[in-house]
Symmetry: C2
Subunit: 189 residues, 2 copies
């Protein structure tokens, strides 16, 4: 977690999450966040457009995944390509306690949940479009994206529960679990 400590942005994030947890997201103001972090409001706005962006900004997962997908050799299958891109996620993930507290704040607020859902749909559409650009047929691209995001969710859950887990290995394990689930429903023949 050391990489997130000691810098301005991280102090603001922690102050915001503390206040969201203590008094609720709606009641927390930017002024309070800045004060708690011993910084000025001006410092806050250097990093975030508003308090919501503390939860969603810097969340450049989509761009990261798209860039990583572009770097996967042509000819790689759709799901293996997605999983290779997802394997780069820990580089942008926050520490587990940040993710857990962020998830709790979002779960408690319907507007934040909506925002999270819409972001997920946007990510899903962007990945499907990227697979189509790689030559994948649209329905297969959609199915591979849905399957890939299911594996990503499972892997992230396991990784969040135990950060010692290697993320790439959690993705492989998730893909094997998906294969087992699918095999049960589609007997050979």
């Amino acid at each position: 977690m050391a990489r997130w400590e000691g810098n301005t942005r991280s102090r603001l994030e922690r102050a915001a999450l503390d206040l969201f947890a203590e008094q609720g997201y709606d009641r927390t103001t930017v002024a309070q966040i800045a004060r708690r972090a011993n910084l000025t409001e001006r410092s806050f706005y250097r990093w975030f457009a508003d308090k919501r962006e503390v939860l969603f900004a810097g969340d450049d997962l989509e761009q990261r995944f798209l860039a990583a997908l572009d770097a996967v050799p042509a000819g790689t299958g759709a799901l293996p390509a997605l999983l290779a891109a997802f394997a780069t996620a820990p580089e942008v993930f926050r520490p587990r306690d940040f993710l857990e507290r962020r998830a709790a704040v979002i779960a408690a607020s319907p507007p934040l949940r909506e925002r999270e859902l819409i972001k997920l749909v946007a990510l899903s559409e962007a990945l499907t479009a990227a697979l189509v650009r790689r030559g994948c047929e649209p329905q297969s691209a959609r199915l591979a994206t849905d399957a890939g995001l299911a594996v990503l969710r499972l892997a992230t859950e396991r990784w969040t529960a135990d950060e010692e887990t290697d993320f790439a290995e959690a993705l492989s394990a998730g893909a094997r679990d998906l294969l087992a689930v699918a095999a049960e429903a589609a007997p050979a023949g």
Copy 2:
């Protein structure tokens, strides 16, 4: 499509979709919908709480799926159980042209898209909870639900494109496609 014609509710639905397409969802009033259907506003409110409910009401897919899932014999695997429940969907589906026009109205309106997303998340959570009640481990239940909804989406897309397709067969074909996608990412061993 005969089963949907000639009744009050169907007339209101068609009038509403016509108006949504012609002048936009936001600009359409309940009074206009009733007039177009040659019915009174009172008749409208006998069927729908408001104009949004023309798009979402009677959409009892969740209850239908949960009831169908309960009817699947114990011991059936998670994904096969879900697909068996999904196979009952055509009984509540509307005709293809209704579904297509409804989808176009929703796609054009961010608040309606949000509403649709939230409904999908609720369905997903309800199915996962139902699988857990059937004895499935939570992470497997979640993964099977994600996989099942991916197959349902694919099957519905194909069925909407060609209503002569048998829906149960479209689900089986989707499950085979999912297996092929998963196998590519999880080589044996």
